[in-house]
């Protein structure tokens, strides 16, 4: 990206109030803005700065801050620059605006995020089940959903103790770290409490 373009972009984006711009490198721009200003930013980038491609919307569950972080990845084919617009929305009640009217592909990303995180997008054309059609539990990608606990309650364990492992154990070898010992130390949910 040319220096002139980055300056242009800087000037253009200053129209949005409270925007924080960080250039990771000349072709990678991070923009942190308030959730209310995001549709204005996207309309600006799409209408006046050639960012026609919304390549993804990703969601992060910051359970300690009680917030969801939404990241809108925008790509410009003309300048080959990727802008990621970061917003935070409160986890409860978990409702945000759809950007379907600005970027049509957003419908799929929003439907996916609604399924995985339970974040509802107002104005999105379809918020019904997408991939997890057989799933009736809580949204599985939320941090407060304990997948392993659910598995332990739903499925039964099949013991696997083959002959070669028994031979190894007789010679003093065997499994160094069991799944249980790994779980106890490495699970962030348990460390907190």
């Amino acid at each position: 990206m040319s220096i002139a373009h980055s300056q242009n972009l800087n000037v253009l984006l200053q129209e949005i109030e409270g925007i924080q711009l960080t250039f990771h490198n000349p072709r990678r721009l991070r923009a942190d803005i308030a959730a209310e200003a995001l549709p204005a930013l996207l309309a600006l980038l799409r209408g006046r700065a050639s960012y026609v491609h919304l390549s993804a919307i990703s969601c992060v569950d910051w359970i300690d801050d009680n917030q969801f972080e939404l990241v809108y990845h925008l790509w410009s084919y003309e300048t080959s620059v990727l802008i990621s617009a970061h917003i935070r929305v409160p986890r409860d009640p978990g409702i945000y605006l759809s950007v379907f009217d600005i970027y049509t592909p957003a419908a799929f990303f929003e439907r996916d995020i609604h399924e995985m995180f339970g974040l509802y997008f107002e104005g999105s054309p379809d918020m019904s089940k997408f991939i997890l059609t057989e799933w009736n539990g809580p949204p599985p990608m939320r941090k407060d959903f304990d997948s392993e606990k659910w598995v332990m309650e739903t499925f039964s364990w099949q013991q696997y103790h083959p002959d070669w492992l028994q031979e190894l154990e007789q010679q003093g070898g065997g499994i160094v770290s069991t799944p249980e010992s790994i779980r106890a130390g490495n699970r962030p949910m348990e460390n907190k409490s």
Binding site: L132, S147, F155, Y160
Partner: protein, 233 residues
């Protein structure tokens, strides 16, 4: 039904019984030999284990010299080969496929994931033990098993068929209540397949004391009869 109740049900393996008539024995052995030498395999490639099948099938290891060929449709297939993890959504389709296959049918689970979920044990979306939902003849463990192991497993299956011991498909009819219970545990009580397994079991005289039970009662209460497809030109 809780998981703990389902665990108590154990499936008895019935040993192969030879018939008393010596001519019938010869006939049975001949049939077993013929079956074991000409098998069509439907490979349900769900996971990474599928990548080991092309070398096993093609010239390097050449499955066809054992008389095993890939088949495209379940109704003509003898072996259902499930390669890798089975998600709950896939499992529904696998069960539909399995029930469509004509008996005698054999199921092989390849990779650790079909044994107990493998590295997907903590996953909310993956079904763990395949033989809880339908009978499995043979597991080939490994992550992933090499083509030699696949060939070895298929040869073991051939030996079992030759000795008339690969009768796991009869278990599905004899213990339908158990398998259906596990299926309902995952899919909910509204679960039903287009195949009338109970009717098949009665027709082929394979119904046993465990064919019907509390789970089949639930099935019969929610089951809607199948209607013929509308023909239109």
């Amino acid at each position: 039904m809780k998981k703990s109740d389902l665990d108590k049900v154990k499936i008895k393996q019935i040993p192969a019984q030879k018939r008393t008539n010596p001519f019938a024995n010869v006939f049975d052995e001949f049939v077993g030999f013929c079956r074991s030498r000409s098998m069509f395999m439907l490979h349900y490639c769900t996971g990474c284990g599928a990548i080991e099948l092309p070398p096993a099938m093609t010239s390097r290891f050449d499955m066809e010299r054992l008389g095993i060929q890939p088949m495209v449709s379940p109704r003509q297939a003898d072996i259902l080969l499930i390669t890798g993890y089975v998600s709950i959504k896939t499992l529904k389709r696998v069960i539909l496929t399995y029930e469509q296959m004509a008996a005698p049918k054999y199921v092989i689970g390849i990779c650790s994931c079909t044994v107990n979920g493998g590295m997907y044990w903590q996953s909310y979306a993956t079904a763990k033990k395949l033989d809880e939902y339908f009978p499995v003849d043979l597991y080939i463990a490994g992550c992933m098993p090499r083509p030699e192991a696949v060939i070895e497993g298929l040869q073991q299956l051939m030996q079992k068929i030759k000795a008339n011991e690969a009768n796991s498909w009869k278990q599905y009819y004899k213990n339908y209540d158990y398998f259906l219970g596990n299926q309902q545990h995952l899919f909910g009580n509204n679960w039903q397949t287009p195949t009338d397994v109970i009717g098949e079991a009665e027709t082929y005289q394979l119904a046993g004391p465990n064919t019907l039970g509390e789970h089949t009662k639930i099935l019969q209460s929610v089951q809607t009869p199948l209607k013929p497809l509308e023909m239109k030109l």
